[in-house]
């Protein structure tokens, strides 16, 4: 629907029943209000001590908008015929009714534009409401009086006082009726609303109002003056206790009560008019006071709610949270503290923080002994918060015992594997040295033997020369024996083969290397079925894996971070062996090195001895498996090793025993 569509179109576009319902309620309210308030009409015109019908217009215009504008006029015009016993002249009445529809409609729409909340939530809302409606009432009073003056019904001399009287009448009508309806519109006359209204306090408040009214009218002759003030007492009481909702109802009740009293006891017009001036002041005071109280109350509730939320968050936090005052005494401890310290909250609150959590300055961790004797390692973090000139400390405590234990276990496991490998390294070094030295020794012995043989065929060779060749050969043989003994001395631990799910050492070693892997930003993929069982010495396989994985991580150093990847996979071969494959995206194996990859002292690392792979191969071969590298690609290195399965290992043992 476009903005330019006519008002008629807009009304027609509304759901019909709803529109009819609203119209009916509005008209009845307008007529009813006009009827009960049409007393003491000045000059036989619609100038009465209080004039509430515009309140109905303001409410409807505020809630439903401009499209109801024709209705505002209709209500005002028909009301002349229905509610008033002396219809006013037609022309000025029509003009005045149009003015009323336009002025109050505009005022309500202006309030909407200015962001007034329908339930007058804040002090600003109330001020806005009073301000805008005052202005509208003033405009209305001027329009009305001037219209009738223009048509010759009023003398110029009485205009000002009539305008003022009209303004007060409209103002009091709008001020006591519209807020009451707006604030209570959602639950007006609902059962809960009526039930909540019935309380001893409300009755007492009503009694106070009745008493104050009685004092005002009947203590002495009806004199409006100082005796009006007792009415402020129940007003302040209600405003303080029930806020704006109670105040709006009270004001409406007072107004209706006053007017009822005026009618029933025939109070004079003069008194009634003066009474309305005071009533207007009372209304404004009440509304503003009620708004302030309601606003405060809501703010307090919001604070309480957020405090309760924060408290429950603190309470539910898995960490222990302690709050201390400026002397370092604990003011609050949450439930997490109970779990960590093994005691109750009340046993901790009030104690000094130093006694509960002994921690050296600058330290983050400390060990506390719980009442049950358990020692727990905790990590604490403190924040100092200055609140209201006091220094409050908030201390978060976390139980890191389990983490510490895990860390220690991991470190120990790693040490075991590395130490075992260092043992292997010595052994490997001895073996490699033996192999390397045996070659030249063999050559020496053989050369000597050949020389002896050649010389034996020659005549006149000095016997001493031959003898010294024999001695040289004997010394070389002795060197060989020394090497043999050295090697036997460093002979490593015996192999203890047992069923081993190959996924376990792989998982463990990746765990031990997690720091290196994470630091280098390497992505590790593992495709190892947990059902794959080899017959192997766990510690030795762990050493092999540790070596191969370390090599891979080192080889990845030159690969860009995003492409660093290691894939560990395992499968059973057709020959009934378990084959483990470690592939990386590193620099690959230099073809020159590839030939001698498993030879001792061959290395691309600046720090290594070049024995790692040699030893790994000898360990795997001792298991009856093989260790080899794929033929070189530029895409990184792929190393494989095989291990016997439990079944194949058993066959081999039988072979050894009987073969």
């Amino acid at each position: 629907m476009s903005k330019r569509s006519s008002i008629v179109e807009k009304i027609l576009a509304m759901p019909f029943a709803r529109a009819v319902g609203i119209a009916a309620v509005y008209l009845l309210a307008y007529w009813g209000l006009d009827w009960i308030s049409f007393i003491f009409p000045a000059k036989q015109l619609n100038i009465t001590p209080w004039n509430p019908p515009p309140a109905a217009t303001v409410v409807l215009a505020f809630l439903c908008g401009w499209r109801w504008a024709p209705m505002f006029f209709l209500a005002a015009f028909t009301s002349n015929l229905i509610a008033r016993y002396a219809p006013t002249p037609i022309m000025p009445t029509v003009i005045a009714d149009v003015a009323e529809a336009v002025i109050y409609g505009s005022a309500a729409v202006a309030l909407r534009r200015l962001g007034l909340r329908a339930d007058l939530r804040t002090f600003r809302d109330v001020m806005l409401f009073i301000g805008v409606t005052s202005l509208a009432a003033a405009l209305m009073a001027i329009s009305y009086i001037c219209t009738f003056w223009a048509f010759g019904y009023l003398e110029p001399g009485e205009l000002v006082s009539l305008i003022f009287e009209y303004w007060v009448g409209d103002m009091i009508g709008v001020t006591v009726v519209a807020p009451a309806f707006l604030v209570h519109r959602r639950h007006l006359l609902s059962w809960e609303w009526i039930a909540s209204a019935l309380s001893w306090e409300h009755l007492a408040q009503l009694g106070a109002v009745a008493l104050a009214t009685w004092i005002m009218f009947f203590w002495q002759d009806p004199v409006v003056g100082p005796l009006f003030y007792p009415l402020f007492i129940p007003l302040v009481w209600v405003a303080a206790r029930q806020g704006l909702p109670g105040t709006t109802l009270l004001l409406l009740l007072m107004q209706v009560g006053l007017m009822g009293t005026v009618e029933v006891f025939g109070i004079s017009e003069l008194v009634t008019t003066k009474l309305q001036y005071l009533m207007l002041a009372l209304s404004w005071t009440g509304l503003l006071l009620g708004a302030v109280i309601s606003e405060r109350e809501r703010a307090r509730e919001a604070t309480q709610l957020s405090e309760a939320r924060l408290k429950s968050i603190v309470e539910m936090a898995p960490d222990g949270i302690l709050i201390t005052d400026d002397r370092g005494d604990i003011e609050m401890a949450n439930r997490g503290v109970e779990d960590i310290f093994g005691t109750t909250q009340s046993a901790i609150v009030g104690r000094s923080i130093g006694g509960v959590l002994p921690i050296a300055p600058g330290d983050k961790e400390t060990v506390i002994r719980r009442p049950d004797g358990r020692e727990v390692t905790v990590e604490a973090q403190a924040a100092t918060v200055p609140i209201g000139g006091r220094t409050t400390s908030v201390i978060a405590v976390r139980d890191v015992t389990a983490r510490k234990e895990t860390e220690a276990r991991v470190r120990q496991h790693r040490d075991t594997v590395e130490q075992a490998f260092r043992g292997r390294l010595t052994e490997g070094l001895a073996g490699a040295l033996a192999h390397e030295l045996n070659q030249p020794l063999s050559a020496i012995v053989t050369y000597t033997g050949a020389a002896q043989r050649i010389l034996a065929t020659v005549a006149n060779v000095p016997a001493r020369a031959l003898e010294q060749l024999t001695k040289a050969a004997a010394q070389a043989t002795r060197a060989g024996d020394i090497i043999r003994r050295l090697r036997e001395f460093f002979q490593g631990a015996t192999l203890e083969q047992a069923p081993l799910a190959i996924s376990e050492p792989i998982r463990d070693m990746l765990g031990l290397l997690r720091d290196e892997i994470e630091r280098s930003g390497t992505k590790v993929e593992v495709h190892v079925p947990s059902t794959l069982v080899a017959s192997a010495d766990r510690l030795q396989i762990e050493q092999v894996l540790m070596n191969l994985l370390r090599n891979s991580i080192e080889a990845l150093a030159e690969t860009p971070r995003g492409r660093r990847r290691i894939v560990v996979s395992a499968a059973e071969t057709p020959e009934g062996m378990v084959e483990v494959k470690i592939a990386d995206t590193g620099r690959g194996i230099d073809p020159e090195v590839a030939e001698r990859l498993f030879d001792p002292f061959v290395t691309t690392s600046a720090t290594g001895l070049g024995l790692g792979l040699t030893i790994c191969r000898s360990m795997i071969e001792a298991h009856g498996g093989k260790l080899w590298a794929d033929r070189v690609t530029s895409e990184g290195a792929v190393l494989h090793f095989t291990l016997p399965t439990t079944a194949s290992a058993a066959t081999e043992r039988l072979d050894k025993a009987y073969g």
């Binding site: 192999h435 020496i444 050369y447 033997g449 050949a450």
Partner: protein, 204 residues
């Protein structure tokens, strides 16, 4: 024995050279190779002689070469040289049919002894193989009738019995017999029997 050669396969040049000198001093023909691959690629495979093989070599290892030679049906005796500590592996090679193994550093005299044994055995085998081949080529020359007559002669039957069994005259038997003795290059029945037995006995 003159054509039998010692083939030395070792990745260490000094060891190769020293071994060559040693065998040369004994007038034993020797050829050296730096790797198993080099040996396999040469014309040496299938030549008479024996192999001195280092167990620990880069690339194809001694064990692998042995397996490959077995696969190719070679019967050349293999003497394994091992470093210390490789004894279990050396035992494996013995199981797979190696002639012997020696530990480095070795006594040259002991090595020469082993090599001579290996060459002797190889020579013996080679001679027996050659003889058997000669007999078989002669047998191939016989006609079916001559073969029948020969089998009966070797079984110890007289010409008359043979004639009756085959349904031919004694005269014809005699003719066949003369021809087959000629073809088999035998002068008498006993030498014929010796010749035939040679191809029926086991190889070793």
């Amino acid at each position: 024995m003159v054509d039998s050669t010692v083939f030395v396969i070792d990745d260490d040049e000094a060891v190769r050279d020293a071994l060559c000198e040693l065998f040369a001093s004994e007038n034993i023909p020797v050829r050296a190779f730096a790797s198993a691959e080099e040996f396999l690629a040469s014309d040496a495979v299938g030549s008479p002689g024996c192999l001195i093989l280092d167990l620990m070599m880069p690339g194809m290892s001694g064990v692998d070469l042995q397996a490959e030679l077995v696969r190719r049906g070679s019967t050349i005796p293999i003497i394994i040289m091992t470093g210390q500590g490789d004894v279990p592996k050396a035992v494996t090679t013995l199981k797979a049919g190696a002639f012997d193994f020696i530990e480095k550093p070795f006594d040259p005299t002991a090595l020469l002894k082993v090599v001579n044994q290996a060459l002797n055995r190889e020579g013996r085998l080679r001679r027996r193989y050659a003889e058997r081949e000669a007999v078989e080529s002669r047998l191939a020359l016989l006609s079916p009738r001559e073969r029948q007559v020969m089998d009966l002669v070797v079984a110890g039957h007289s010409n008359k019995v043979i004639g009756t069994k085959l349904g031919i005259s004694v005269r014809t038997v005699e003719n066949h017999r003369a021809k087959l003795m000629d073809k088999m290059r035998c002068n008498n029945v006993s030498s014929l029997i010796t010749t035939i037995l040679q191809i029926k006995s086991p190889a070793a």
